[in-house]
């Protein structure tokens, strides 16, 4: 794992959390969409907060697929789950949603999980993978600690 790769993981957590929060604000402004008026969701996509949220989620997606190209899914998902902690903190400080002691414990468990997975190897030592764009069979960087 290089510094650049850690930056990509941080980018996933931050842009995902900020994107979800902006979507939440947009949808709260827009109002409840009932099961019987699903077509109103199309109108919601034009709300400024929703547009900003979608742009951030696009940045999230770019970082995410980039990370998946060099790390395992079961590494990327827990390693970037600090995003959920960020969502809770944003919900608390911007939307004044209550954070109970149980939620604080949840935040601690997530942080522990992130620490656990990021101390381990980021990719399953490859059987020789032949990539379709590149003829080089060793393109997956073999980072196998432990």
């Amino acid at each position: 794992m290089t510094f650049r790769k850690y930056l990509v993981l941080v980018g996933i957590a931050v842009s995902g959390a900020a994107g979800d929060s902006l979507l939440n604000r947009g949808m709260k402004d827009f109002g409840t969409v009932s099961l019987y008026h699903l077509s109103r969701l199309i109108g919601a996509v034009l709300h400024p907060s929703v547009i900003a949220g979608i742009l951030l989620l696009l940045a999230f997606f770019a970082c995410y697929i980039s990370a998946l190209s060099w790390a395992d899914l079961t590494y990327v998902l827990p390693a970037t789950s600090l995003g959920y902690v960020l969502v809770a903190l944003i919900a608390h400080y911007s939307f004044h949603e209550h954070i109970s002691p149980a939620r604080w414990l949840g935040i601690a468990l997530i942080a522990a999980g992130v620490g656990f997975v990021s101390a381990g190897p980021s990719v399953t030592p490859a059987r020789q993978v032949r990539h379709s764009l590149d003829a080089c069979p060793n393109a997956v960087s073999p980072e196998m600690e432990s």
């Binding site: 979507l23 969409v33 969701l41 998902l77 949603e97 935040i107 993978v129 764009l133």
Partner: protein, 126 residues
């Protein structure tokens, strides 16, 4: 909206997200390290290659289904319930699916991490 409907939407988000994650991960492993390929071949060939990978398009469709379910869920639910609850289910689903379909080596460390994060996320939904 009733609780049962809320959890139905949450289940739908988790199922679509897990399917999407596994398909996207499969696609990106076939493409290879994009940063490395980018330096060697330039942006556009890499982008074109990603877009032409079949499981990428399928994964994108599953992610879109998850996204619109989320948008729907967020319009009435608490951000701090819908996001953590669907995420928790996806973490467990993904750990199992990645092992079966992607043949990832999910050792003690990763199971611990997935379980810690999933239970933390459940606690946050209380």
């Amino acid at each position: 909206m009733k609780d049962s409907q809320a959890w139905a939407v949450i289940g739908l988000i988790a199922l679509a997200a897990t399917t999407g994650d596994v398909l996207l991960s499969h696609a990106m492993k076939r493409v290879g390290d994009v940063a490395e390929l980018w330096q060697r071949h330039g942006v556009l060939p890499v982008l074109g290659h990603v877009l032409r990978t079949p499981t990428f398009a399928l994964g994108l469709m599953a992610m879109a289904a998850a996204f619109f379910s989320l948008l729907f869920g967020l319009s009435w639910g608490n951000l701090s319930l819908v996001v953590p609850a669907s995420a928790s289910l996806s973490f467990i689903g993904n750990a199992i699916a990645a092992r079966i379909f992607l043949h990832e080596r999910v050792g003690h460390r990763r199971w611990m991490a997935a379980l810690l994060v999933a239970s933390g996320v459940v606690l946050m939904a209380l």
